[in-house]
Structures are given as structure tokens and as C-alpha cells.
């Protein structure tokens, strides 16, 4: 736990210093909403269309963070430094997944207001607690799968392609569950409660992928 905290602190400090990832993610998400706003020529979206637009935008922004997650480790010797230390390899997975989760939450602090402003989904304020719960579970999936895929890609020459090629199929179940869970919350007569089955699907998918990634992570970062 102490090791994971040390790595997470270092990653957040590096992001604060360089601002390489979060501003890009925020800009991409806002730009995407602007494109949908003018491309669809609609001031307001609702239901599954709104959910689809929002989920796809999150995915695009998440891919930026996923591709950059291990860049400092690769380019500045962070992997070697970590491997030389007598620590559990899982600590790096936990720290990187936590960093990605925090990046996603920070992104959503910008993306949700921008979504509300540009595409004005109905009853978003009313459904906000349920909407937030679904997003946090979706962030868990992005964090776990994204960290795994990023670690897999970082030692390959085609690292920029590996993320989308492997990451997208792995994320599909989580993306579908997120969109299907969010859709009913963004309708004019929304109840404000999420459907339990989509929460369960997301929670189980997060858990399954976390166990799988922890089991395989050692092999990904060692030579």
C-alpha cells in the first residue's frame, strides 16, 4: 500500500508539473460535444442517443490517458527503477489504475457540465446521484482495463495502436453497460434511479478485470 501510494503521489505530481494529460482529455471532450452539438444540429439530446454521445466522448478522452499512462516510466527509466526495488509488482498496477481513475473523475468534472451546457439532456440534475454512481463504476472499468492495456502496449513498437486494438474490445461490455445504464436517466420522465442490472454488470466486470489484470501484471512489466 505504501509503495502504491508513493507511485501515485509521484504520478500526480508529474501531471501537475507537466499538465500533459488532463488538459488534453478535457479539451477533447469539450470539442467532441461541440462537434455533436453542431453536427447533429440539436440543442438537446435525450435517452440512449445522449447516453451514447456521452459514453463515446468519455472513451475518446480515456484513450488519451491510457496511451500516456506509462510513457514516463518507459522514457525516463521508471520501470527499471521500480524493478530494482524490493517491492510487490502489483503496487504499480494499483497506483496506475488509481491515477487513471482520478484522471477520469477530473475529466468528468469538466465533461459533465460541458455536456449539460451543449447538449442539455433532460433531468440530468434530478438523476445526478445515479448518473455519478454509474460513471464511477465506468471509471473503474476504464482504470483497470486501461492500465492493463497500457502496460501491455508500452513495450511494443506499435504501442499507439495496441491501446485501441486490444483496449476497445475489452472495454465494450463496460461501455455498453454504461450507455444502457445512463440512457434511462436522461429521459424526460426519468425516475432518477439506475437499473440495478447495469450497476451489477459494471461492478462484476470491474472485479473480473481487476483480478485478471493483477494476476497477469507481473509478466507484463518484467522482461
Amino acid at each position: 500500500m505504501r509503495t502504491a501510494t508513493a507511485i501515485l503521489r509521484k504520478d500526480l505530481l508529474l501531471e501537475l508539473r507537466t499538465l500533459e494529460t488532463l488538459p488534453s482529455m478535457a479539451l477533447l471532450s469539450v470539442s467532441t460535444f461541440v462537434i455533436f452539438h453542431f453536427g447533429l444540429n440539436r440543442d438537446s439530446l435525450s435517452g440512449q442517443l445522449a447516453a451514447g454521445v456521452f459514453t463515446v466522448t468519455l472513451l475518446f478522452a480515456a484513450m488519451l490517458a491510457i496511451n500516456r499512462l506509462f510513457v514516463a516510466e518507459r522514457e525516463q527509466g521508471g520501470f527499471d527503477a521500480f524493478l530494482l526495488a524490493p517491492v510487490d509488482r502489483t503496487a504499480m498496477f494499483a497506483a496506475k489504475a488509481a491515477a487513471l481513475f482520478i484522471f477520469m473523475v477530473a475529466l468528468e468534472l469538466v465533461a459533465v457540465p460541458a455536456f449539460a451546457l451543449l447538449l442539455a439532456p433532460p433531468r440530468l440534475g434530478h438523476s445526478l446521484p445515479a448518473f455519478t454512481l454509474l460513471l464511477l463504476l465506468a471509471d473503474g472499468a476504464f482504470a483497470v482495463i486501461g492500465t492493463f492495456v497500457s502496460a501491455l502496449a508500452v513495450h511494443t513498437r506499435a504501442r499507439d495502436l495496441i491501446g485501441p486494438i486490444i483496449g476497445l474490445p475489452l472495454m465494450l461490455p463496460a461501455l455498453i453497460a454504461t450507455a444502457r445504464g445512463i440512457g434511462p436517466l436522461l429521459t424526460p420522465n426519468a425516475s432518477g434511479s439506475p437499473q440495478a442490472k447495469w450497476l451489477l454488470v459494471l461492478a462484476l466486470y470491474d472485479l473480473f478485470n481487476a483480478l485478471l489484470a493483477v494476476g497477469l501484471f507481473d509478466y507484463l512489466i518484467e522482461e
Partner: protein, 245 residues
């Protein structure tokens, strides 16, 4: 089949210092990258407190040997034991006992020297006070809060030395340790990584005379093979020149 060079040179190697268990014990170590052999059949022992100088031209296998000893690369055949523990199976048991000073500083450019060392101290469970101690030892306390990217190469190398010895390693792996250091900085780091530190060392250098002066054992590599293994005095000058020809 073991190559002749390894067999001959093993017999001429001095015994481990102190007569105890060798810190480094290699037996028929080989490593390749694709079709290219980087190391072939290297056999040697290095005792506690001894210094092994690894000589050879660029691409001879020096850095590969150091990375295997650092547990960062796996051997493809033969055996490697550090402190009696077989690698890579027991790598976790020796990792905190090794200090690596390689070509890469292993420091984050956008963090300060102090932040980098604090991070490494946390990884190695070293008290924070040790960070100030090593910063002072390499003369970097005043510039300790500057981002690494703003420092000269010599200063980065001094920080790299501080990072390598931060956790008081028992085995130092030194790849060109004095590169980018001026004579004054070289003197500054000498107590930390020099012979006087009393630490078992494996060092490579493009300055063979300097390396020979520090060594108890010399391993000369040529094309990944041991062209010579033995005491520095046994390496004839013409043979040394031949290594770099």
C-alpha cells in the same frame, strides 16, 4: 559445449574475497537478442568487497551483463547467483541489495532531485533523512529543488550516484560511473562508489587503465565471450589494446 575461453579463464580467476560465499557467481551465462549473442558462456565468481572490471569495446556485452546482474534481464542459459540466490527465480530476494548506476539516470526529468530521491527512498523503505544525507554527499543540497531537466549532465550524474547508493546497496553495478563528471565531482562521489566504499562492485569503463587500477578481477569481453578473466596484472598491454582494436 563450454567455450575454451571460459574454461581457461575461470581457473585463473582469484578466489572470492574473505573466503566466504561469492557475491556474484556466474556459470556458463549466455544471453542473446534475436540471432545475436550478447554473452556466451561466461563463468566467474566475485567475492565480497572485490571489484570486477568488465572491459571491451562497444557492443561487447558489458551493459547486458550489468542488466542481468541487476535482475532487469533474464539469462537465456547458464546460472546466475547473487548472494547465493539463483536468478531470476529469487530476484525479489536480492533486489534491495543492488545499486545500479547505468547509462540512464532513472530520474524523472520534471521532478526535482529531492523529489526523485524521496520517491526512491519510499520504494526502498529508506528514511527520509537519508535523502538529505546523500544529497549533501554529492554536493547537490543547494540545487536539490531544481527540476532534473534544468541541471547539467554532471549534476544529473551526481544525482544518479546519490540514487544508486541511497539504500546502501551491498553490490554496486557501475556502467561508466564517472562519465560527465569533472575531477572535483569525481572526487566527491569517490567515497560513495569508489574502492574506499568497501562495496562489492562490477564496473565497466571505456578508460581501461582507470578500470584496471580499481579492479581485483578483470573480465575482458570480446563478442560476448570471455577473452580474459583474471587479475589485472595478468592482462598484457598488447592483449588489452587488442580488445579495443
Amino acid at each position: 559445449m563450454r567455450d575454451a575461453a571460459s574454461t581457461i579463464t575461470t581457473e585463473s580467476a582469484p578466489p572470492p574475497g574473505g573466503g566466504g560465499q561469492p557475491v556474484v557467481a556466474l556459470e556458463g551465462l549466455s544471453r542473446h537478442f534475436g540471432e545475436r549473442s550478447a554473452l556466451r558462456g561466461i563463468t566467474l565468481e566475485l567475492g565480497a568487497g572485490q571489484t570486477l572490471a568488465v572491459l571491451g569495446r562497444n557492443g561487447a556485452g558489458k551493459s547486458t551483463l550489468l542488466r542481468i546482474l541487476a535482475t532487469l534481464l533474464r539469462p537465456h542459459s547458464g546460472s546466475v547467483r547473487l548472494f547465493g540466490e539463483p536468478l531470476p527465480r529469487q530476484a525479489w530476494a536480492v533486489r534491495g541489495r543492488i545499486g545500479l548506476l547505468g547509462h540512464e539516470p532513472l530520474l524523472y526529468r520534471d521532478l526535482s532531485g529531492r523529489e526523485n530521491l524521496t520517491y526512491h527512498a519510499r520504494l526502498h523503505r529508506v528514511p527520509a533523512a537519508r535523502v538529505e544525507e546523500v544529497l549533501a554527499s554529492v554536493g547537490m543540497r543547494q540545487r536539490g529543488d531544481d527540476p532534473v531537466r534544468s541541471l547539467s549532465r554532471g549534476m544529473v550524474q551526481r544525482l544518479t550516484v546519490a540514487r544508486a547508493v541511497l539504500h546502501r546497496p551491498e553490490l554496486l553495478l557501475l556502467d561508466e560511473p564517472r562519465s560527465n563528471l569533472d575531477p572535483a565531482a569525481g572526487d566527491l562521489v569517490e567515497p560513495l562508489i569508489g574502492r574506499g566504499a568497501g562495496i562489492t562492485r562490477v564496473l565497466t569503463s571505456h578508460d581501461p587503465q582507470a578500470a584496471l587500477a580499481e579492479a581485483d578481477v578483470v573480465l575482458a569481453l570480446s563478442g560476448g565471450r570471455a577473452a580474459y578473466l583474471g587479475p589485472p596484472a595478468g592482462l598484457a598491454p598488447e592483449r588489452l589494446r587488442g580488445l579495443y582494436a
